[in-house]
């Protein structure tokens, strides 16, 4: 958000005397995407509530893909199809990667970054599987009230 303002000011600095901004970020979607790509998860969610255009862009899964693999070398292309099949990158990030990263942040070692993503993927897959069971017409297999296996990630951390 701060980046955005700074950019806008920079752009309008020369034309300040006219008192009419000639630069409107929404006219330049490619720049907007560049900016949004660099945000963290929470800011991205906030950005999604600015206006309809921003909401549409923020929902784009590739932005969330960037978030998931931000500190990791790019994964093989096969990962994308798997993640999309299991529910998409936004869900992966908000449900798994972010809680996993914040929990492990305290004891993280540098070599764990890739393994964090892999573990998140596995947990994500189990979660998808459990959701499959709930949506079955015969819902006896998994109780609706039973939290998914990712619930343990949502609990407050016991310091």
């Amino acid at each position: 958000m701060v980046q955005n303002h700074r950019r806008e000011d920079h752009e309008t600095g020369g034309e300040n005397k006219e008192k009419r901004p000639k630069f409107f970020i929404n006219d330049h979607v490619d720049i907007l995407i560049e900016i949004l790509e660099r945000l963290d998860g929470r800011s991205l969610c906030i950005a999604a509530s600015v206006c309809r255009l921003w909401c549409t862009i923020a929902r784009n899964d590739s932005l969330w893909e960037n978030l998931c693999f931000r500190h990791v070398s790019p994964p093989p292309s096969s990962v994308r199809s798997v993640v999309l099949a299991l529910g998409g990158y936004k869900r992966l990030y908000t449900g798994c990667v972010r809680p996993v990263r914040s929990r492990l942040g305290r004891v993280r070692r540098a070599s764990w970054a890739r393994d964090e993503v892999q573990l998140s993927l596995s947990l994500f897959c189990v979660d998808y599987y459990e959701r499959l069971g709930g949506s079955n017409s015969n819902g006896r297999l998994v109780e609706k009230s039973s939290p998914s296996s990712l619930m343990f990630l949502c609990k407050p951390v016991n310091v």
């Binding site: 096969s78 798997v82 998808y128 599987y129 609990k155 016991n158």
Partner: protein, 547 residues
């Protein structure tokens, strides 16, 4: 047993009898547990102390030690025999010694929670006759207990009043006594023990801690004494119920997740480079282990193999084919991630009823056998036929699997002697319940506890073929499997790293993963509770044709 005898009171400490008697409760007051008054263990050592006063005596001993150490005065007057007449009466002996010191006690951090008003009372008023523990036993209200519960939940600490700690210790003593009676066959004494324990339970916090575990063990003992050793309702739970409980146990604590992830990692590594793979799961349940493996196979470099899964499970009574439903769900997942997948269900109520031809193993495919807490059920020996464990292990070996993953509880619950088994189970399940305290998500926690409770009931109250929870420790499994023609495979650093990460995600900081000679164990505060290992069949030698 003898009440605190007022006759010895006069003889023990002539100089300070007034102070010691005023701090003692009147010996003739009404108490429920009169015959169990004197602590048994100290009595064996020659000291008579009332169990309810254990904590008080201990605190005073500490104070005495501090006073002795800090006292500038010459301590020779303590050596006079005329004052300390009866050292076996430990409580009054300590009091009399303390009365020798004119200085106030130097323990600034000593507090006693006055159970009635729940305020802390500085304990240097040890000579006053304050309403002390025995009298307020019966006055503990439900509000007080729930206050304790609230504190426990909020602070994640166990706020145990002095009285409760005593009662907890006494409960454990009484459980041992009862178990010993059962082993001896003295059921009348065991029954009276049970009644006493049930009375004691009302004074202990049964929401957490020793009270809860003791409650389950008391239930199991009464089941054994009154309903016999046939199992009955414990083993009669439907397969559907068992699956639900198992699922909640999976969610509530990391043991099963650890088992699944570790086994999957080992299987993934064993299947490296193979294009046609077949996994045999000895207990499918909801198939929670397999999504992660399917996903990992989908993403492995070189592309996914053709995966066949054979799931063994109990038959469903009401015509539903639950195995097939799970298979369909897994197939749908596999289809979403583009893994060629085939499922086969084998319904069998006991693992020893499964024959290898039912699994339809193709000779060209690589086989993995996965047993999560199933092998120990085969250890009941039946003299009429071959021991089931040997039968099953030999046909596993005949399949020539690339890997066999074995996860078992790390406990020795298969000893022939009942008391040993009981003791071991008490320690093991206390630790497990401790670890469960970290989970606050309901209904996971409550149902997970029922799952564990069923195990306890089976270990304690069943015998013969009804007792299926015959856990053995890793060392015994090593011997057994090596003797059956398997050699161990090391689980590797990836599995260890993954297990450590998984553990770190759980909010309680008490879990620990340890590596034990190529096997991984997960435990609570350095007591291992579950052990995962991997095995491969030893080839029979160059003379035999490869299968």
């Amino acid at each position: 047993m003898v009440l605190y005898d007022s006759a010895t009171l006069g003889g023990s400490c002539s100089g300070s009898s007034s102070s010691s008697s005023s701090s003692k409760p009147p010996p003739l007051q009404q108490r429920q547990q009169t015959q169990q008054d004197i602590d048994g263990l100290l009595a064996g050592a020659g000291y008579r102390v009332r169990s309810s006063e254990l904590r008080k005596v201990a605190q005073r001993l500490e104070r005495l030690e501090t006073a002795m150490v800090n006292s500038p005065a010459d301590l020779s007057q303590l050596a006079s025999d005329t004052i300390h007449y009866n050292p076996s009466d430990l409580a009054s002996w300590v009091d009399s010694l303390l009365s020798e010191f004119t200085q106030p006690p130097t323990c600034p951090s000593e507090f006693i929670m006055d159970p009635e008003t729940n305020q802390t009372v500085v304990s240097d008023a040890w000579t006053t006759a304050e309403p002390h523990m025995p009298q307020v036993h019966q006055n503990i209200s439900y509000q007080q207990q729930s206050l304790n519960n609230q504190l426990t939940v909020d602070n994640q600490l166990t706020v145990v009043t002095a009285m409760e700690e005593d009662s907890g210790i006494r409960l454990v003593h009484m459980l041992m006594t009862c178990a010993e009676c059962v082993q001896r066959g003295d059921f009348s004494l065991a029954t009276s023990c049970l009644e006493d324990m049930q009375g004691l339970l009302t004074r202990v916090n049964t929401v957490c801690g020793i009270g809860k575990v003791a409650g389950h063990f008391i239930d199991a003992l009464s089941r054994r004494i009154f309903q016999g050793i046939g199992g009955g309702s414990i083993n009669g739970g439907s397969a559907y119920e068992n699956e639900i409980l198992y699922h909640h146990f999976y969610e509530a604590c990391p043991y099963l997740k650890f088992a699944h992830f570790t086994a999957n990692q080992a299987i993934l590594e064993a299947f490296d480079g193979h294009d046609c793979v077949h996994v045999v799961d000895f207990n499918l349940m909801h198939g929670l282990q397999w999504p992660a493996l399917i996903q990992a196979l989908a993403l492995r470099p070189g592309g996914p193999p053709l995966l066949r899964l054979t799931g063994i499970g109990p038959p469903s009574p009401d015509g539903r084919d639950s195995l097939r439903e799970i298979g369909l769900r897994l197939a749908e997942l596999a289809r979403s991630v583009n893994v060629r997948f085939a499922f086969r269900g084998v319904a069998a109520s006991r693992l020893e009823d499964v024959k290898p031809w039912m699994l339809q193993v193709n000779p060209k495919e690589s086989v993995a056998v996965n047993s999560i807490m199933q092998l120990h059920r085969l250890l009941g020996s039946d003299l009429n036929r071959n021991s089931p464990i040997e039968t099953v292990l030999s046909w596993i070996r005949s399949l020539n699997p690339k890997i066999m993953t074995v996860v078992e509880q790390e406990a020795n619950h298969n000893q022939p002697g009942f008391l040993d088994r009981f003791t071991e189970a008490l320690h093991y399940y206390s630790t497990m319940f401790d670890s469960l305290e970290a989970c606050t998500v309901q209904p996971n926690k409550a149902l997970a506890e029922i799952y564990i409770q069923r195990e306890i009931a089976n270990v304690v109250s069943c015998e013969g073929s009804a007792r299926v929870e015959r856990h053995e420790p890793l060392s015994k499994w090593r011997t057994r499997l090596s003797g059956a023609g398997f050699r161990p495979l090391h689980l590797g650093s990836n599995a260890y790293k993954q297990a450590s990460m998984l553990l770190t995600l759980f909010s309680a900081e008490g879990y620990s993963v340890e590596e034990n000679d190529g096997c991984l164990t997960l435990g609570w505060h350095s007591r291992p509770l579950i052990a995962a290992s991997a095995w491969q069949a030893v080839s029979d030698g160059p003379a035999d044709f490869p299968a």
